[in-house]
Amino acid sequence: MVIAAPITGIAETATSPITDKRWHRLVVPGVVIIAIIAVGYAIGHEVPTWLDAHVKAKVDQAYQWTVLHGDTNWLFTDVFDPIGHAISWSTDHLLSLLRTLRWPGVLVLTALIGYRTGGQRAALTGVIVLSGCGLLGFWDHTMITLSLMLVSVVIALAVGIPLGIWAGLSDRAEKVMRGILDTAQVMPLYVYILPLVVVFGIGAPAAVIATIIYAVPPAVRITSLGIRGVAGTSTEVGSSFGCTGPQLLLKIRLPLARRAVLLGVNQVIMMAFGIVVYASLIGAAGLGNDVLTGLQKVDVGRAFAPGLAIVFAAIAIDRITTGQRPQRIVSDTVASRPGALLGRRFMMPLLAVGSLIAVAVVAKLLKADHFPSSLTVDVSKPVNDAADWVGRHFRKGVPIVGGTESFSDFVVINFLTPARDLLQHAAWYIIVAAVAAIGWASGGWRLGLVCGASFVGIGALRVWDLAMDTLSQVLVAVVISLLVAIPLGIWAARSITVERILRPLLDVAQVMPAFVYLVPVIFLFNVGRVPGVVASVIYAIPPGIRLTTLGLRQVPEAPREAAISFGATPRQELLKVQLPLATRAMMLAVNQTIIMCLSIVVVAALIGAGGLGLETVYGLTKKQIGQGTAGGLAIVLLAIVLDRITQAWGSRSNRRAGAQTWAQRRFSRGPGLTL
């Protein structure tokens, strides 16, 4: 006894602080969650009627007010209307300029710009690809879309690049902007679309501004990344020779960040073209509208052809704006003859403008107003035929696997419906408590609070059942995407051949606007919830694969070598070294997959997935602004919860193996993102 006492004493003092902590960590959240459930039980199984933020009614009222007072209130007459007019003016004039040039002039202009930036190759590609839009019979609509896109892109760059430079130079600016951009990134487009519609009405200005808001973040981010990426030694060299701040920027930082800035330009273009169809939801005419009409009529051919034209236009613009100009070798003799240089500097632009005007004049004389109809090919009929064929042959009766229809039934019966039923039939407070608990376990009480509050917010928006429907689809899509993407990503990281095969596919997938996926999906699955899930999966897989591969590739050589030197098999090396060290990247892949799947919810609604997306589409197309806002806000709340939770997973493992910076993370999300 006497001897035992001190020993237990030691044991107690040694262990009690730890058990104490554990006790706190488990019991406090436990009590809170039990309390939530108890309160919920008292309130009732359904979201109580008094828990209603009256968002729909209030937004509808506000909208009514703007409709009534739009002509008289100073905010409209002095601020919004002039902005709207300026945008309309620019797009109209750009369009009439393009029309004055006529199609031969536009092609020559494309060639000239391409030649200037990327040499013959870029010129040729630009011309050929852009002609594709004409061949598809969409020249005129392409010009409408182009004029909208170009105005958006120019404004987005004019805003984004200076902001990016500022963020690159000042830590404080970067911090502020990072907060805003991070939030913007998980915000679906509709969150800004709806207020824009309220303010500017349906039409080109709202569409242009939505595109700008959507495309500015990557420009800021990439520019800032580029400026920050300039080696400290280079700026130090500048300072050591007495550069002033502006001299440093102009002579050192910007030239060295040139590639990054060009990449920013490219991203902005891709982002802008990625949402052409969305822009049409709020009144942008042109190709996006054609796609939308096709989709709404479930006419695959009519959606496909303009979709293809959008892709062509995007590729053409991309090629002529970001071509790597071949290095000009200025021989000493040319450089030293001032006359020659002068000639180069002034003759070339003169020649270019001259030839452009000449072509335009000739085109006018020849009355080449429209792209020659003899050249156009109607692809919608063959596409429809192909769709029918595919539908007939793949929907049913494929040996063993059965066909897409049975696949579809399988997914619905075994996954979608059970998941939805589970979420919808569970008492709402249990879901709130569960989400809060997951948040708590992932990132502490603050995150738990945010998650719980967000879900209560969804209840208050009165869209609980729709949200659960959407959530079930998103979760199923995420699980399927990860099951495909992570193994493929690991495989690609371990085999050069696999990566060589996957890489171009992933590249193409990234520049494709999201809705392009819908077309083949409709081919195979008709409309409904499954095609929505399939579209999300197709959309989310590329970044998933890419991030997994990237994460594994970034694992430093030394530990792997060490493992091999101890006789680890490739499998052991993967499981014991690479995967643990790539946890953060894997979590990032999960995070991105979720965001991508969520971002396509509205698109999915266009092909019958229902849920919150439908609510939003309805709000936009039928001017049910209140309803649309409620749906959009609920998607945002879902996005915030899922994003924050998975980000917390990532940053936890980060402490062990932090490799990627914020910028890389957001950067790797890449273009073609339609959120």
Partner: protein, 346 residues
Amino acid sequence: MAEASISVRGLWKVYGPRAGRIVGSPDADLPRAMLEAKTGCVVAMRDINLDVAPGEVFVVMGLSGSGKSTLVRCLTRLIEPTAGTVMIGDTDVTAANRDELLDVRRHRVSMVFQHFGLLPHRTLIDNIAFGLEVQKMAKDKRRAKAEQILELVGLAGLGQRKPDQLSGGMQQRVGLARALATDPEIMLFDEPFSALDPLIRRDMQDEIVRLRREVKKTMVFITHDLSEALRLGDRIAIMRDGRFVQVGTPEEVVGAPADDYVANFVRDVPRSHVVAVDSVMAPPASGGSSGTVPLGTKIRDVVPYVAASELPVRVVDASGTVVGSIDRVAVLSVIAGEDLAPVAGG
């Protein structure tokens, strides 16, 4: 005009929150880890005092992390010192306003960097002309000047190349040319040759020796290579934990290391390579001699004479007057490392 070209008094650099309070406080003497734990600060350089005479080559040596780069960058405030003053000629750099500081950087001091610091987007000519461009010199004028300097460093005709088309040695020649182009009084070198292989390094050192002879610049030269320091330096400072532990001529440093740290540094240097006849010679002896050497000759170079003959060697000054003599015993005692005569003042 002040006598010294560079004059540094009580210079400190402390990284961390509220760095100023560390300067001169008892905390500054804490070991690095303790200080960092206690205050979150790192003392990179402490209480440096230094005068470099015009035309002198002042070498700073020390292990990695001892604060050499910090020191050299504080001289033109590329790193802002925490306390102390730096005078370049009669300009107080630490008190200078923006324009004065730019003037110092543009016209009076230039720097050669460890990893060359060439700007990859510019041709060699434009790299060399960079300093002139920043001064807003007209384009053809600065090009012409850069062309001249390119020739001086032996790269004539390569002006239109980009830096990545050159080898490391050639790149550092461009770095050197760029620093020369602004025709500064003072040149700062931060381990300029440590990224080069030994043969090219030797070449570049010769280049510095030649420059020093021909253009008479004041130089501050950072290196962690002792033989480089001994070859180039008029004086050598040994740095440790941000302070100078010894400043002296190569002979002093090798001959009379101030502490174990320095002794460790110079342990492997044969003294005969460093010690000159001046410090060990006896008064002129009458009688025959085995040869004549000028003042400043290293003992190593006297060995052949005393090996060939038992007669002492005569030492003459610049005008040819015999000022001393040195015999076999003196040479051997230097080589054996004993009984070094009182070193000559530096």
